[in-house]
């Protein structure tokens, strides 16, 4: 349970925190509360291995490793919050479903990105080959959806399968736009809404629903999750430029290098003089090799960080607004703390940037 005791515990899977020392108690407070929940999830996921065909159990175990931050399960648990005691089997199952869908997308992402390492281990694709990784991702998707059929009605399966299709659609759009300059803010918003916010949204919605919360709160939790997810993705895109390489454990500027027009780059483009806009365009579509140092200097000079951080704040405000009529329900203040945490992360990043 190292992950739960660590100040990094709240962070999403793709990164390690930036300047967590600024708010260490906040992180551990939220996640310490989930100790029994996350341990029930670990047990459940381990038990699921027996459901996989014997020949692929080792691969499934490798992909389901417990070293991730389990952020989406945390959304499920907090949305269905009834106290720090052991969670219901129904809630644990939903948490497992969203985590398994997420892990399947990571297995597939790592193939497409040619990534060699994730969480300090070779990726599934690196370890077992791309072909096995494609198929293992499929098997994880299939099993996640199979778990949804253990609820009395088809509602959970319907919600998860649509969410999964939307996540894939978002990633397809992003993939097809790589290296293209015809990406505007509307495109960026749409991609983020599909590829990231959708699974956050459905995690919150289903957590509340399975816990038997009133329909109004179920919808509110979904809206909260969506805005938190958008805010988180924008933050993650900021980290790609303003994080500290040693801390986030990955190379900075990969979005520029891979031609992904994220919000920091969109804002930078808007603020550059035409001649520099053209240079940035050439870097994005591969005509010129990226000059990260210059782009970072320009971002700092032109106030890109503050502008983008402002958009995270807008999303967090929307997220909190969704919960405000429901403060009397146990989950609402718990979820609100997640918004506080993301806000603290952005502040910490501002200090280090």
């Amino acid at each position: 349970m190292v992950v739960l005791m660590s100040p990094t515990a709240v962070l999403p899977d793709s990164m390690v925190p930036v300047a967590p020392a600024a708010e260490p108690l906040a992180f551990s407070r939220v996640f310490a509360r989930l100790a029994l929940h996350q341990s029930a999830l670990d047990t459940f996921l381990r038990e699921q291995l027996a459901e996989f065909e014997p020949e692929i159990r080792d691969l499934a175990a490798y992909a389901l490793d417990a070293s991730g931050k389990r952020l989406r399960p945390a959304l499920v648990f907090l949305s269905g919050w009834k106290g720090s005691g052991a969670p219901s089997a129904e809630l644990v199952r939903v948490a497992a479903v969203v985590e398994m869908v997420h892990l399947a997308t990571l297995v597939h992402d790592d193939i497409m990105d040619g990534a060699e390492v994730r969480r300090n281990r070779p990726t599934v694709a690196r370890r077992y080959g791309s072909a096995a990784a494609v198929l293992l991702g499929d098997a994880l998707f299939a099993h996640a959806l199979h778990l949804t059929t253990q609820y009395p009605t088809t509602g959970v399966c319907a919600a998860v399968s649509v969410a999964m299709r939307r996540v894939c659609a978002g990633e397809i759009v992003q993939t097809l736009r790589r290296g293209s300059l015809r990406v505007d803010r509307a495109d960026y918003s749409r991609i983020v809404d599909l590829k990231t916010a959708e699974l956050f949204r459905v995690s919150c919605q289903l957590g509340a629903e399975v816990a038997g919360q009133p329909a109004g709160f179920v919808a509110a939790a979904g809206r909260f999750g969506r805005h938190l997810g958008i805010g988180y993705q924008i933050y993650d895109d900021l980290v790609d430029f303003f994080g500290e390489e040693t801390r986030i454990g990955k190379t900075l500027g990969t979005d520029l290098t891979s031609g992904k027009l994220t919000l920091p780059l969109l804002v930078l483009r808007e603020r550059l003089e035409p001649v520099d806009q053209e240079r940035l365009a050439e870097e994005l579509d591969g005509r010129r090799s990226p000059d990260l140092a210059t782009r970072l200097e320009q971002m700092r000079r032109l106030g890109v960080f503050a502008r983008v951080a402002g958009e995270v704040a807008v999303e967090l405000a929307d997220a909190r607004a969704a919960l405000s009529p429901w403060q009397q329900l146990a989950p609402a203040p718990r979820l609100g703390e997640l918004a506080d945490l993301l806000e603290a992360q952005v502040s910490a990043l501002a200090q280090s940037s």
Copy 2:
């Protein structure tokens, strides 16, 4: 509806028939009966495009193209057979689900195999890139499972999601064993059972179930589908050596070249002298370049075709036996004709080999 009028219509997607002229009426008879069914399926699949996110509709349309043989839908329709009139919406939906799952596996298979052409068009991977193809396959899986949630209970989703996981498991085992000599008949049977027979089985089972057939027949149809699927896969592996290249539209001997120990190669290995066994082993694991002409000559001399064809016959006998107590039900004789068709295909192949 060219596909339905053609003698090739019964053939599975990966091939075009060998010597169909031997039994042209049989093919057209079975598939002509399904004209309204297949046309309802085409309409339904076209309508589904509107359910996909607008940005990925073109890709989904490309992958859902109607030029395939729709063999698995035929299994659904014949298992739920109530006459040649328009099928129920429930039956059409199940047919769409199994076809969509199958098409998704083809999209992923073509990435892994580096295939450039399928059905005389560039593969999805070739046309849109591997990354988009991985994601589109995922989106098709997701949407197929979403369709299963439109039944009153979770049963259809549970059956399809397990089948999908088993298909992937079978393909993973096959992938990991490529180029390995440690594959025996038991391994081969297991791979075939998972990667091919499972979707045949679930197509028949769900077709019968959704049509409201008695539970005994539902189980029998599932057993029929499984044995037909095993028989079909063995036949397909025979075609890889004994088909006519110009007719099947693909290179012969690809299983040898890619190190896949299929049944014809397993039988050949058993019957070779040790020195030739060693040579075959070297060809399979890549130490020596494959000598297809010699292997074919050996297969002919050592009676490999007859031995392997005998195993197809065993599966077809098991398939027919499953149906024999249910001949009074409309679907049973219709399904039996599919076994007859496969038998005729094998005979035609014997003549040309």
